[in-house]
């Protein structure tokens, strides 16, 4: 009996399934690509055929233009591709994100893409999908990453706003997923005032609303000249890149916050000059990651990207077979 490798293995373009002649999240243009979610390092333009969820396809079109691929197909039901049967299952990471289950004659593979088991009102929750081979991410695969509940983290933002009612609170959050996760958390915490969003977030926020996700009142974070005061005490969400620009200085004495799993480590927060670090993640943390492997008990665990050493060590200690794929092209430190 051939090893699992014969049915799915890494190639320079990405993870390749020879039975179906397709790649998962390829980093270079290929003939056929299956895409887990819309983040730029996983979803790239220029493939011939793309199979993904409706929402991921919409997001790619928004990012790259409607002609980002020659052919697109919505993954809404199990589908046969050559010798493989593929199906998409919610990953809980961002809107449209999916784990891809690939059934081959050599076993069932589940490619998680990025995922989290922390539920969010901004996307469908993660579902366990049993597999012979779990192909997992390992972004936060260190025992120090134990992300707290997001609700008390958001409470800290509202608390800071009460302490500094005149200061604008500028929260850095990635445009796809994290921004909407933060806004829905704010709404759940009872914040019913306006949330100001940076221009770079607008279209994605509108798309979430179109998809039935309630984000409440959103306003453009544009300041009229000489009218700083209108942003006193405002909550503003912006992509991290905006914090390096003069845009920030337009706000009255801003509190700079950042919503990310990395904020758990103080040195990281200080490095970025963050005054209000909010540990809000859309990836599995260490307990979730190890629990997933323990619960699904796959015959093998393959690690696509992130910090694989610690996870390999944990698998060895706990009697799980594991290997690192050392795949390149994915951001080791997204969020």
């Amino acid at each position: 009996m051939p090893g699992f490798d014969a049915f799915l293995h890494p190639r320079p373009e990405g993870l390749y399934c020879p039975g179906g002649d397709f790649f998962v999240d390829p980093v270079r243009p290929v003939h056929r690509a299956l895409i887990t979610h819309g983040h730029a390092d996983h979803a790239r333009a220029g493939h011939m055929h793309v199979l993904a969820t409706r929402q991921t396809l919409d997001i790619m079109a928004m990012r790259y233009g409607a002609d980002f691929a020659d052919h697109t197909q919505v993954a809404d039901a199990p589908m046969r591709i050559g010798a493989a049967t593929v199906s998409f299952h919610p990953a809980g990471h961002v809107l449209g994100s999916a784990q891809i289950r690939i059934e081959t004659p050599g076993g069932v593979f589940v490619v998680t893409g990025d995922y989290t088991r922390t539920p969010s009102a901004a996307c469908a929750p993660w579902e366990p999908v049993p597999a012979d081979v779990l192909v997992t991410e390992a972004t936060f695969a260190l025992p120090v990453f134990r992300h707290p509940d997001p609700d008390p983290e958001i409470a800290r933002l509202l608390d800071s706003r009460r302490t500094f009612p005149d200061r604008a609170h500028l929260i850095g959050a990635y445009a796809l997923g994290k921004a909407q996760r933060v806004i829905t958390l704010l709404r759940a915490a009872g914040w019913d005032g306006p949330v100001y969003v940076h221009g770079a977030l607008r279209r994605l926020c509108d798309y979430h609303v179109d998809q039935g996700i309630d984000l409440g009142e959103l306003r453009a974070a544009t300041i009229e000249r000489g009218n700083k005061a209108q942003f006193s005490g405002a909550i503003v969400i912006a992509p991290p890149s905006a914090f390096a620009s003069p845009w920030v200085q337009r706000f009255p004495d801003p509190v700079i916050g950042f919503a990310s799993g990395w904020m758990q480590v103080r040195a990281r927060a200080r490095q970025r000059g963050v005054e209000l670090p909010l540990v809000i993640s859309d990836h599995v943390d260490w307990p979730q990651l190890t629990a997933t492997i323990a619960e699904l008990a796959p015959a093998e665990t393959w690690i696509t990207h992130g910090r694989e050493e610690a996870l390999l060590r944990w698998c060895t200690l706990n009697g799980h077979r594991a290997r690192a794929l050392n795949m390149v092209g994915y951001e080791d430190e997204p969020e």
């Binding site: 260190l142 025992p143 120090v144 990453f145 134990r146 992300h147 707290p148 509940d149 609700d151 008390p152 302490t163 500094f164 758990q264 480590v265 103080r266 040195a267 927060a269 200080r270 963050v274 005054e275 209000l276 670090p277 307990p287 910090r307 050493e309 610690a310 060590r313 944990w314 200690l317």
Partner: protein, 527 residues
């Protein structure tokens, strides 16, 4: 404990004073005694809890976690306490899921009282029960590693704001108080103003740098100056039969200097310099250090290195508080007091006579004693203020920059120097040519002036009215205080307070410094 952890977090992530203060005020207002006082002491480094060592923490975590996983984690986080706080396997991942922690004061008392043998189990038990950010705060507290940029001064300014009094009032009481400062907090809550302890340290007045100022904006007549001695700034306090010697940071060094302490037979507070002095000879700081390092001092050592006080200022005297008085009034009182004490081991710091900043610079450049490290400049009208308040006292340390330049031109002086060539223009090499870089007319003795004058007369190559050009043969060591860019000077640089430090007849002119060398000393260009 939860509020303390939150305060610690907020303080750690903001570099701004005003924000730190706002966080403190909120904490004081919402936290009962004695927790708020303990928190204040812990954050300013006034609470010593050093029983829990890094090696104890390593042992605890190695019993609970795979060493390789810990090593990978520690490598990533870079801080032992933080790594353990985050990775502690049995602890709750966040505060919400943890039970309510005990108050800060209870944890501190417990740490203070625990015996060595009980410590590991006690710390482990606390880590099991605390939430993540409390674990961090607890470990930082227990290991004495709370470095969040809160100075004692910031704490006292904030406390004064909280009580609603001037910071001077808090400073006055502070050194007689110990954590958890309950009396101060009760004062804030409407209780009585605490009584200062007998012979406690009074807030010390500190100087700012003179180099950062443009002396052109200050009138020398408004200032007094005295030598800045390289000893230890001290406050000698004697009240109601209690005698104390404090360093300016509040360390009580009475026991180290009993020979001086027994001479504090007065009722008052003297600000001065602690020196090792035999007759008029002041010993270098290294000699003083030999005594500072010991808790107790032997008779032979006191005989060999006798302590003395050189008095700078008088804060209180025979029941009278002089601090609100101007320097001139305090100085007169100090002179009377020292005269009345009539003790050879307690003498006055001499005032320097100067009419211009140049003259003071010259004094500073050539102090009469090697143990002098510069001059102190004090505004005659200033009261004695707590802390480092700008605009009153300045220290002007002796740390000149130096170049070896070649004498190029000389001009006759004015007044008592009118018969001499006493204004000297010097230059540095730029390629094969000398470029003038500055002018000096002081720094030399009368005897040296006569030598310079003779050199000029003997080596004149040209005359332009009162100015003579001289053959480029004499090297002068020029000391100066700073360097600025200049568009007026051909060299592109302008020196602050240049003066002739030495006449280098031993050095050939060709070996004098080059202009590039001077330009390299320029501060970096802005913008």
């Amino acid at each position: 404990m939860r509020r303390f952890a939150r305060l610690l977090e907020a303080l750690a992530f903001t570099p701004r004073r005003s924000v730190k203060q706002a966080q403190f005020l909120r904490y004081f207002a919402t936290t009962p005694d004695p927790d708020r006082g303990y928190a204040l002491a812990a954050l300013t480094g006034d609470l010593e809890l050093r029983q829990v060592t890094p090696s104890l923490l390593r042992t605890l975590i190695s019993e609970r976690m795979d060493p390789e996983l810990f090593a990978l984690s520690y490598d990533y986080v870079g801080d032992l306490a933080e790594t353990i706080a985050l990775a502690w396997p049995d602890g709750a991942p966040d505060t919400v899921r943890a039970p309510d922690p005990p108050p800060l004061s209870a944890l501190i008392t417990e740490l203070q009282r625990a015996g060595r043998a009980d410590l590991p189990a006690m710390v482990a038990g606390r880590l099991d029960a605390l939430g993540m950010s409390e674990r961090y705060a607890y470990l930082k507290l227990a290991t004495g590693g709370l470095r969040v940029g809160v100075s004692g001064r910031l704490a006292r300014v904030t406390l004064a704001e909280f009580i609603g009094v001037d910071v001077a009032e808090v400073e006055e009481l502070w050194h007689g108080m110990a954590p958890p400062y309950t009396a101060l907090f009760q004062w804030a809550d409407g209780g009585p103003r605490p009584e200062p302890a007998l012979a406690s340290l009074r807030p010390v007045m500190l100087a700012t740098g003179f180099d950062d100022l443009d002396p052109g904006t200050l009138d020398p007549a408004d200032f007094a100056a005295e030598w800045k001695w390289d000893g230890v700034r001290v406050q000698a306090v004697a009240e109601g039969g209690v005698q104390r010697l404090y360093t300016r940071t509040g360390q009580d060094i009475s026991a180290t200097f009993p020979d001086l302490l027994e001479r504090l037979v007065f009722d008052g507070v003297i600000d001065g310099e602690l020196l090792i002095r035999t007759g008029d000879r002041v010993a270098p700081f290294s000699e003083l250090q030999k005594r500072l390092n010991r808790k107790r001092v032997s008779g032979p050592m006191m005989a060999r290195l006798p302590a003395a006080l050189r008095a700078y200022d008088l804060l209180l005297w025979q029941g009278r508080d002089l601090r609100a008085e101007p320097f001139a009034t305090r100085r007169a009182a100090l002179e009377d007091a020292v005269r009345a004490l009539d003790d050879p081991r307690i003498d006055l710091s001499a005032l320097l006579s100067f009419d211009t900043w140049e003259a003071l610079a010259a004094l500073r450049a050539a102090p009469p004693d090697p143990v002098i490290e510069g001059v102190m400049i004090k505004r005659r009208a200033s009261p004695y203020l707590a802390g480092r308040v700008k605009g009153h006292w300045f220290k002007w340390k002796r740390d000149p920059m130096v170049v070896d330049a070649v004498l190029m031109y000389a001009q006759r002086g004015h007044g008592k120097r009118s018969g001499y060539y006493s204004d000297f223009t010097f230059g540095l090499w730029d390629g094969d040519a000398l470029v003038p870089v500055g002018k000096a007319y002081f720094g030399f003795t009368d005897a040296e002036l006569r030598d310079l004058d003779r050199f000029v007369r003997d080596h004149t190559t040209d005359r332009f009215g009162p100015v003579r050009a001289v053959a480029p043969q004499l090297v002068l060591e020029i000391a100066f205080e700073g360097l600025n860019r200049s568009t007026r000077h051909k060299s592109g640089v302008a020196m602050r307070f240049p003066r002739i430090a030495r006449i280098r007849t031993d050095k050939p002119a060709a070996e004098a410094d080059r202009l590039e060398h001077l330009r390299a000393l320029l501060p970096p260009e802005l913008g």
